[in-house]
Assembly symmetry: C2
Homo-oligomer: 350 residues x 2
């Protein structure tokens, strides 16, 4: 059977509302244009070259990928400006990175000398130049370093062959980081080191961007689809959410014990207030537990409840992790299926 | 570069200790032989036909899959006795199920008339016979029905063309379910309905199986690899665990803020006591947070801590969900890579 209408789909399937996705692309680009900064979509949210191409056509300057293996998929699909905001560590990975830099202009981020030196060695062997930004530790306390250490790393990068100092990166770039960012920029300026890019990122990055006028570029992934996490954080409305997981009721013997065919393998296991997804048709239903192939929904607070065979639409807690679980996304215009995309960079963990 | 030694691998990679896996296969088969019941491995834990073949060679009677699309992968690989302990719902799925029954002997489970009738229609159209077990609701309160309803469903199955009543299924089959199981078996006996199989399952099913002498078969997945969840539940020891995720330290600027290249895309986001995995080399280290590509480890309680570039072995919280995230598993004998398996049924959500 050919697949051309939503009723042709098996469940669970991931539906993308094309009207909403296109609007989301346009809104984010307009926001960056208005701020006078570059937009660099993070492809982790969709992992699909055709969708990234639409973001570039709308005005994005390039893409961000989180792993070398993701970047390879996009380089093979023709993308030529790729940033990997990640510490690339290990001989095999740095060699792959250097080969990637033969195909595309590649920039990475670093937070220690060990990371810099490993990449430099591979770049030298391969005869390529790799762009390198220092990452400033944010309030999220993940990777990144202090302003003083950032200056030392920037000096080291600038003094190393086959590397190009490309600027400063922050994740997430909320306004609270500004004192630390200003201190870093001042140190770099005093040392005579030019800063080409100050790159901010995270799904809340655009709403705060006017409070960080030093930013020259934004890396955001989620804004193309949005999700329940963004709605809960007041960064989007359900009406902007472009991704839904279509699920089928497979058991409904009790109102408080309705089971969907969509569990952690289909909607992931991140939660908001203990719930694994927002069921659009039944706002009072509580999707309170998942196993791999089962979603447990309590409909006891609902006036009506679905029967076995009925379908529901779930707005996921976090779209990026849902994309990574599926081999295809379906692009819908109304109920017509206009696009069937392979998730080309799904499962790229290297 | 050819991959033949563990040092050839990039991280994150999923390592399977072949000695431990082989021992785990033998131990579970011996346990079932001793109990005088059939063993039917659930393939969701490995999703790899070659591994299931080793379980069959050790004495297993067939396999269990959780989805039709998983079962198709195994039927194509030559497996001929496939149980799907799941309510198969929806026209496309029931048709696929009926086509599967042209290739292999197929048994499913049901807990309502709607599920039975949908499958019966597809079986009739295709001209196949599908085995059907009724599922008894367990203390886990997922799918399944009551003893009285189970009798009605069994009668309905027995009276429907193209279906074969195959018995009673329970998940998880802990000893507390016994009164309900006995009541059901008594009702079926009084009605003159023969029960060919009583199928128990779950990772704790084998330890409790002697307390449920009515069982004729066990479906267990996790016992082939075990995991931290099973160790925490006292069903295995770390020494029995056959799966490890090899991860690399990418940032180590502070002892309480060491970052691994393995986050929820590599080790999943299930937890035990708030931790996302057990780091074998550093038992006091706390892997307390994950993002998609980052694992946050607090080494402040450790005497030593790794540097950027060092690797660690993580025993996952739950092996089945880790397998589903990776395209390959690596089978190791010591440090030599003896097998590279594609995870053939990875991402099969239908």
């Amino acid at each position: 059977m050919a697949i051309s209408h939503v009723s042709d789909l098996e469940t669970p399937s991931v539906l993308i509302d094309l009207d909403k996705m296109e609007r989301n692309i346009a809104v984010m680009q307009a926001r960056c244009d208005e701020l006078g900064i570059r937009f660099r979509p993070h492809i982790k949210t969709h992992k699909i070259p055709d969708i990234a191409r639409r973001q570039i056509e709308a005005g994005a300057v390039g893409i961000a990928c989180q792993k070398v293996s993701e970047a390879e998929v996009f380089a093979d699909a023709g993308f030529r400006d790729i940033q990997i905001p990640y510490n690339i560590v290990g001989r095999r990975k740095t060699r792959r990175l250097a080969r990637l830099a033969q195909q595309a202009e590649v920039t990475v981020t670093v937070d220690s000398r060990l990371v810099i030196d490993g990449i430099a060695e591979a770049a030298r062997e391969t005869g390529v130049t790799i762009g390198m930004m220092v990452e400033l530790v944010s309030l999220g306390e993940r990777t990144g370093t202090t302003p003083a250490a950032a200056l030392e790393l920037a000096r080291h990068i600038a003094a190393t062959d086959n590397l190009r100092f490309a600027g400063v990166m922050i994740y997430p770039s909320d306004a609270a980081i500004r004192p630390r960012l200003l201190e870093t920029l001042e140190l770099l300026k005093s040392a005579g080191i030019a800063v080409e890019t100050v790159s901010g990122g995270g799904s809340g990055a655009s709403s705060d961007a006017h409070l960080l006028p030093e930013l020259t570029e934004l890396r955001v992934g989620t804004s193309i689809f949005w999700d329940w996490t963004c709605v809960a954080a007041d960064r989007a409305r359900f009406d902007n959410c472009a991704m839904r997981v279509l699920a089928t009721v497979v058991s409904a013997n009790e109102p408080q014990r309705v089971i969907l065919d969509s569990g952690s393998k289909a909607i992931h296991s991140e939660t908001i207030d203990g719930l694994y997804g927002y069921i659009e048709e039944y706002p009072a239903a509580r999707l309170h537990k998942v196993n791999e192939e089962h979603g447990y929904v309590d409909f006891s607070a609902c006036d009506a409840r679905p029967q076995v065979g009925d379908m529901v639409h779930i707005i996921p807690v976090h779209t990026c992790v849902v994309t990574n679980l599926h081999n295809q996304l379906y692009g819908l215009r109304g109920d017509a299926i206009e696009e069937i995309w392979d998730v080309a960079a799904r499962g790229m963990v290297w």
